[in-house]
């Protein structure tokens, strides 16, 4: 095994020549560092390597949005992003929203308005909606629906999801 620093990553070549990359991220405020195969997706890194299973994988083809997390404050689909690609970034997952045992206003709003049915899409919905309110403080119904185009709820619970985002907008 030898280590190559060519591109600023610790590249570890195993005997079978499968490349490993050392990925260092700040996840929910904590610095983490893992050696993973180069083709590791961010969703896999979070779920399998860090055991943060709140980030869901639904369609796995970047259409459903269950896997949405924030990278440096912006919402992205973690199932279509390589872990190595976001090296050095700050990542926030659904587990990172609640502070000191208190729900984030968006989570509280989803609870209050019953903005979920089976709950599978909810982590992605919440993460997308938090990003929306970062840029638009009081979005209209139309703006909320347009923003959530990349999040699919197969229980079709959209009415209450929109209500939840509107409710959260009054608290954030």
């Amino acid at each position: 095994m030898f280590i190559n620093f060519t591109y600023g990553y610790n590249r570890i070549y195993s005997g079978r020549r499968r490349l490993m990359t050392k990925v260092t991220l700040e996840v929910n405020g904590k610095k983490v560092s893992k050696d993973v195969p180069d083709h590791t997706l961010l969703s896999v890194f979070l779920r399998d390597n860090l055991n943060l299973t709140g980030t869901h994988v639904g369609c796995d083809t970047s259409q459903c949005g269950a896997c949405v997390v924030h990278v440096n404050g912006k919402s992205i689909k973690s199932c279509s992003t390589l872990a190595a690609d976001v090296e050095g970034s700050k990542v926030t997952t659904i587990e990172g929203l609640a502070k000191d045992g208190k729900l984030h206003p968006m989570q509280a709003a989803f609870k209050k308005t019953h903005g979920l049915q089976c709950g599978y899409c909810t982590p992605g919905m919440v993460m997308s909606a938090v990003d929306l309110l970062q840029t638009k403080k009081n979005p209209s119904d139309q703006e909320i629906r347009e923003w959530l185009e990349g999040n699919i709820c197969r229980c079709t619970g959209y009415q209450n999801i929109v209500a939840a985002v509107k409710e959260a907008a009054t608290k954030m």
Binding site: L19, D38, H39, T61, Q63, S75, T81, D85, W147, G150
Partner: protein, 261 residues
């Protein structure tokens, strides 16, 4: 997904050196990564170009808007400079995919992939864009050569896209409700001397509708193309829309675009 070697070079020369017949450049990855996951594509080396600083950014000069290859859709959509110079281009970028796709996807990736339903190729065609690569400059009409095919050669990398600022322009899209790709997208641009009507989503590759362009060049108004026949031959027919339906949409959306100009 099959394993590969990930590289993140800091300049174009290194990126080009790493390229081979079994490699892919990675920008936003919004098509490349799903394609690899589905087993439609596999590479030995994936060369991430996002750490190459000079490939990102927006520059507006008197007559042109130049957008770096790794500039994200969200950056184009929200850029004050683009909104002022070519509002139709900002509008197009703001309606690609969904918010999360726009936070990652890039213009260079979109045009290099040349999906027959992608939005950006129509803007390149209608706005007489020049594609700057690390080797040469290519006119848009020569760049898009076929379904998922471009004039790019092995190791050749799009660095920027230079759009000509039109007098007026608009883009109208009938999106697929699931993917937001264009079932039909029509980009109408009125330049000083002529008008270009570029169509995406209809055929295997983006094209200029010469008949509509000619009619609008002599009279830029909805009435000039009222009743103009758009032929369905050669148009895609699939579960989303028949060729005849697409042909009708081209004519309808061309009128919508002219009206909105």
């Amino acid at each position: 997904m099959k394993s590969f070697n990930y590289h993140a070079p800091k300049d174009v020369k290194d990126a080009s050196k790493l390229a081979s017949s079994n490699s892919a450049f990675l920008a936003g990855g919004m098509t490349t990564i799903p394609s690899m996951k589905l087993g439609l594509a596999s590479y030995k080396d994936v060369i991430d170009i996002k750490n190459i600083k000079k490939l990102s950014g927006i520059k507006v000069s008197g007559k042109t808007v130049t957008i770096g290859a790794t500039t994200k859709h969200v950056e184009v959509a929200t850029s004050k400079d683009v909104k002022k110079a070519i509002p139709a281009l900002a509008k197009l970028a703001g309606n690609i995919g969904d918010a999360q796709v726009r936070n990652r996807g890039t213009i260079g990736g979109s045009i290099s992939n040349n999906d027959p339903s992608a939005c950006y190729p129509s803007a390149c065609m209608a706005l007489n864009a020049v594609i700057h690569t690390n080797k040469r400059k290519i006119d848009a009409e020569k760049f898009f050569t076929g379904m998922f095919e471009t004039a790019l050669k092995g190791g050749e990398l799009v660095e920027a896209v230079e759009f000509q600022i039109p007098e007026k322009a608009d883009y109208q899209k009938h999106p697929n409700p699931a993917s937001r790709y264009a079932i039909i997208g029509v980009f109408v641009a009125k330049h000083k001397k002529d008008v270009n009507v570029a169509v995406t989503g209809a055929k295997s590759c983006v094209y200029i509708d010469k008949d509509l362009s000619k009619k609008l060049s002599s009279n830029f108004s909805v009435s000039a193309i009222e009743g103009a026949e758009v032929k369905s031959s050669g148009m895609n027919s699939d579960m989303h829309a028949s060729a005849e339906y697409r042909a009708n949409l081209v004519s309808l959306y061309a009128k919508k675009a002219v009206e909105a100009c």
